[in-house]
């Protein structure tokens, strides 16, 4: 457990992806089964046991410490698990050794003994392993938890206690995704992460078969999941210079819908039960978040299935075999696809209430068909898959699942026009939710990852405003010596005349050369420092104007300005522009209305 804790501790501070991978692979190398398997499970969120409530932890510490000292400490540290981990009076602190006095002399050695880590002897049992903790927690009764927890807390060191408390309270936020943990496992065994993703639903902690395969000691585990995830194919962003080498006739174009890319999979397990799953593009099972789509994914089993009153009778769904659809989740209201802002109401919800599903009905727009019955279609050219998809969706005849329409075009010029005005180029009232155009080679196979030259995304031009740099902060990792996080603002009128109000934060979009320039500007024009934050001069005649590009705008009560941007980034440095000529909040307000009413209208600088 202490070794796992040390890994978590280090991961929590490490900003770099490759360095995180290195830390993980070295852990998998050093630590044997079954601990490393449980670690992988903990990092991918695959462990399941009843979590301890913070109240229990509070009770445990209250029995052992002075309430005033605990209150002062908690106030200082600000995190319950961490406070308890640090101030837990473990047995080795209790053995206080007498200090040397003046006559005593040899002080150093003796005092250090009080700090030493516990030696595993009969008074100090060895700290628990991760496997021990996980397997015990699985079967432990609720009433036994406090006693067991305090025993472990006695045995672990500070970092071990912190990790244990994070684990049992289910609050492990250490900035690594399930995907990254699996990638590390793949790297450890020099395998393709896609293979792990494929077999993952069939694996269970502590993954002995997986690690045997990764170490070359065993067969590749097979995924027996009847509704498996298939690694997703992604597109490259197209540049204007790319078109010269591309022939319009080789491509099929469709709208790029601004929703959530998903894979909808249906299948039948060994007992003949029907399964349907919705996966995110990274392979996460998100079925539970969208129960309202589920009936549409269950293929026809019997005629007396329950009906949803807003939907057609289910028996119209005549599909009898497994399938896998690649598509986009969208909210559709009154036949109109809603913007991403609306869809956001459905995301990251703990409870999906009937009201939510009624107000924000979810819909699947199909892009591609990866499997149909027993046939794996991924090895067919896109044009053929598209034909299969069209007939599949037609047979389905379900109001919640429809086909992503193609955009007819015969030249890049024609497509340019369509992209500029999706509304009149076929997207109609749904143009709100279009974030650009997708180009897919007719002969493209469905390949995992981002294969070169197969699929292109051609995003709508971003919205742009001119804002003034107000505050700067150090970046992380490679950028920790640079001021690379910028808060920028626009003008508003107040009783005291015009003032800048912050509207967003950006930390990318600039080139390395531009970063150096801004960094230099920040250092030379700091007016005040508040901890890590530098206030940078922002007066009407003095300051730096940043051209900020962003994808969308939203009302926000969390921001003083009342608006929040989506994907803001620094587009250009406007050294030529005095801050007084930067945009005003009214411009953003207008854009907000414009976006809501007319949809995809390009809002460039006015």
């Amino acid at each position: 457990m202490n070794r796992f804790a040390a890994l978590l501790d280090r991961l929590a501070y490490e900003p770099g992806r490759n360095n995180k991978l290195r830390l993980l692979t070295s852990y998998f190398r050093e630590v044997g089964d079954p601990d490393r398997g449980y670690a992988l499970a903990a990092l991918t969120g695959a462990l399941s046991f009843k979590h301890a409530k913070p109240g229990l932890i509070r009770d445990l510490i209250a029995e052992r410490t002075d309430p005033v000292l605990f209150a002062l400490s908690y106030d200082y540290v600000g995190d319950l698990s961490e406070t308890v981990a640090l101030m837990w009076p473990s047995p080795q602190h209790a053995q206080s050794s007498p200090l040397p006095t003046r006559s005593g002399g040899e002080g150093g050695e003796r005092t250090a003994a009080g700090h030493n880590n516990p030696m595993p002897d009969h008074n100090n049992p060895p700290p628990p392993t991760l496997a021990e903790v996980v397997t015990t927690l699985r079967t432990l009764g609720k009433s036994e938890l406090p006693k067991q927890l305090s025993r472990w807390l006695d045995e672990l060191d500070e970092t071990g206690r912190w990790a244990l408390l994070k684990l049992v309270t289910g609050a492990m936020r250490i900035g690594i995704s399930a995907r990254l943990a699996k990638t590390a496992a793949a790297e450890f065994g020099k395998k393709d992460p896609h293979d792990i993703e494929l077999m993952w639903p069939g694996l269970t902690p502590p993954y002995l078969d997986l690690f045997a395969w990764l170490e070359g000691r065993g067969e590749q585990p097979v995924n027996l999941d009847p509704a498996p995830f298939r690694p997703v194919m992604l597109a490259h962003a197209i540049e204007n210079t790319d078109f010269a080498g591309l022939d319009a006739a080789d491509y099929i174009a469709e709208w790029k819908w601004d929703g959530i890319r998903v894979q909808a999979v249906g299948g039948r397990d060994a007992h003949g039960h029907i399964l349907a799953r919705l996966y995110s593009r990274s392979g996460e099972d998100i079925t539970k978040s969208f129960p309202d789509l589920l009936p549409s994914l269950h293929f026809q089993d019997s005629l007396d299935s329950k009906l949803d009153d807003s939907r057609k009778p289910l028996h119209t769904f005549r599909h009898q075999a497994s399938f896998a659809i690649d598509g986009e989740l969208l909210v559709v209201r009154n036949g109109r696809v809603q913007s991403f802002n609306v869809l956001q109401q459905r995301l990251n919800r703990k409870v999906v209430s009937p009201k939510l599903t009624k107000d924000y009905p979810i819909h699947l727009r199909a892009y591609d068909l990866l499997g149909d019955g027993d046939a794996d279609l991924r090895t067919l050219p896109f044009a053929e898959r598209r034909a299969r998809l069209e007939s599949f969706v037609a047979r389905l005849d379900d109001p919640r699942i429809d086909l992503s329409p193609t955009i007819p075009f015969d030249s890049w010029e024609a497509l340019t026009l369509a992209r500029r005005d999706p509304k009149s180029a076929g997207a109609g009232e749904d143009a709100d939710a279009v974030e650009g155009v997708m180009l897919k080679r007719r002969d493209a196979l469905y390949l995992p990852g981002r294969p070169k030259g197969q699929w292109w995304k051609w995003k709508r031009d971003p919205h742009v405003i001119d804002a003034v740099l107000m505050y700067a902060q150090h970046g992380h990792g490679k950028r920790s010596s640079y001021y690379s996080d910028y808060t920028f603002g626009v003008w508003i009128s107040t009783e005291n005349g015009d003032e800048l109000v912050p509207v967003g934060k950006a930390y990318f979009g600039f080139t390395d050369e531009e970063l150096m320039q801004i960094d230099r500007f920040v250092r030379r024009n700091t007016t005040e420092k508040f901890g890590p934050v530098r206030h940078v001069v922002h007066e009407p005649e003095q300051g730096l104007v940043l051209e900020v590009a962003f994808e969308g705008l939203q009302r926000s009560t969390r921001h003083k300005s009342g608006v929040a941007m989506r994907f803001p980034r620094i587009n250009r440095l406007r050294w030529d522009k005095p801050p007084r000529e930067a945009d005003r909040l009214e411009t953003l307000e207008r854009m907000l209305k414009g976006i809501a009413i007319s949809g995809a209208a390009d809002a460039g600088p006015q």
């Binding site: 000292l69 002080g107 030493n116």
Partner: protein
């Protein structure tokens, strides 16, 4: 241990030492301890800049503290100086002054002031943990013990510094193509980290930021074994791969770091015990190594002195004063202004965040 009770006439401790604007004033002895503004006669515990300031008339301190002041402020940092050894006793006015090791940095001392059968110990900054670069802390029995409280909260338990150095070396082994940049205060912590590295068997050259060189060379001249040291200056970026460099904490997030290949930023400080502190500073490898006593060290020491009255200065006074009262000890915060921001110019970590 209530020594004073053996005497018939007893000085009140506040008649011996009392806090004034300039620092702790000893009226019967005619001097101040660690004065924060220029005074006629100063008695100084150790060389950190918040305790040892230039511009006093006469200065009494250990030889090492005087040397450090000379290195920092030049030869004319005071009108006259007098060196005193550990265990030596000096009569100043109506009081007797003795110096005892404080275990904080090279030359650091606790100052015992006795008068009329009452002994008050001003401990300055101290730690009871092992430190190969300075004399170990000694407990001085007394009636009143004046303690710092930099880490005066029970969340501060610093563990064995050797384990932290192991963590650093494990990281060096894991990332051989990167440089490891350890932020450490230039007097005391830097040398202790180097000495701990040597004790852990690390024998490659350790690289030094320019601001560390003078003090570190001085440690070596006093017989502290630090192995081969090299300046960072003049090194090629590629040649710094796999090395360990020691720098003042602020330098580890500054332009200076761009000369290192993909540096891992470490920080050796007791503050690193609390995660938010490490994250705030963009530290990637926190090393919990402190030159101040941790909570257990503070409370253990207070008990060991046998003092019935505890005066608490700079740091988290509230918690320590509370702890004293629960043990039946008279305790009060001293509210001295100007301490705990030692090496501020070097680190600018915010007033409450100073370290050795």
């Amino acid at each position: 241990m209530r020594r004073a009770q053996a005497y018939m006439i007893k000085m009140r401790p506040q008649d011996i030492l009392m806090p004034v604007a300039a620092g702790l004033c000893c009226k019967p002895g005619g001097f101040h301890i660690d004065p924060v503004r220029p005074v006629e006669r100063a008695v100084i515990t150790h060389g950190h800049s918040d305790h040892a300031r230039p511009g006093h008339g006469a200065v009494l301190a250990t030889r090492e503290t005087l040397d450090v002041m000379r290195l920092r402020y030049g030869d004319d940092f005071a009108r006259s100086t007098q060196a005193i050894a550990y265990g030596e006793e000096i009569r100043l006015g109506g009081v007797t002054v003795e110096f005892h090791p404080a275990g904080h940095v090279l030359g650091s001392a606790q100052i015992a002031v006795s008068c009329g059968g009452t002994r008050v110990v001003a401990s300055g900054d101290y730690k009871d943990a092992r430190d190969p670069t300075c004399a170990p802390f000694e407990v001085v029995p007394c009636d009143v013990f004046i303690t710092e409280a930099t880490f005066g909260l029970p969340v501060f338990r610093h563990g064995d510094a050797a384990d932290e150095v192991k963590k650093l070396l494990a990281s060096v082994a894991l990332f051989p193509e990167r440089a490891h940049l350890v932020g450490a205060y230039s007097l005391g912590k830097a040398q202790r980290v180097i000495a701990l590295l040597r004790q852990a068997g690390y024998d490659a050259p350790v690289y030094l930021h320019g601001a560390m060189e003078k003090i570190t060379r001085y440690y070596q001249s006093r017989g502290v074994a630090l192995g081969e040291l090299r300046p960072v200056k003049g090194m090629k970026k590629a040649d710094l791969a796999g090395t360990i460099a020691i720098a003042p904490p602020t330098a580890t997030s500054d332009i200076w770091t761009r000369r290192f290949p993909d540096p891992v930023t470490a920080f050796a400080s007791g503050w690193m015990r609390v995660r938010a502190r490490g994250r705030q500073r963009g530290v990637e490898l926190p090393l919990v190594i402190s030159d101040h006593a941790d909570w257990d060290g503070l409370t253990r020491t207070i008990e060991a002195t046998g003092a019935g009255e505890i005066w608490v200065t700079h740091g988290q006074e509230d918690a320590l004063v509370h702890w004293c009262t629960t043990r039946g000890l008279a305790a009060r915060p001293l509210d001295l202004i100007g301490y705990g921001d030692e090496d501020e110019g070097e680190t600018s970590p915010g007033p409450e965040e100073a370290d050795e």
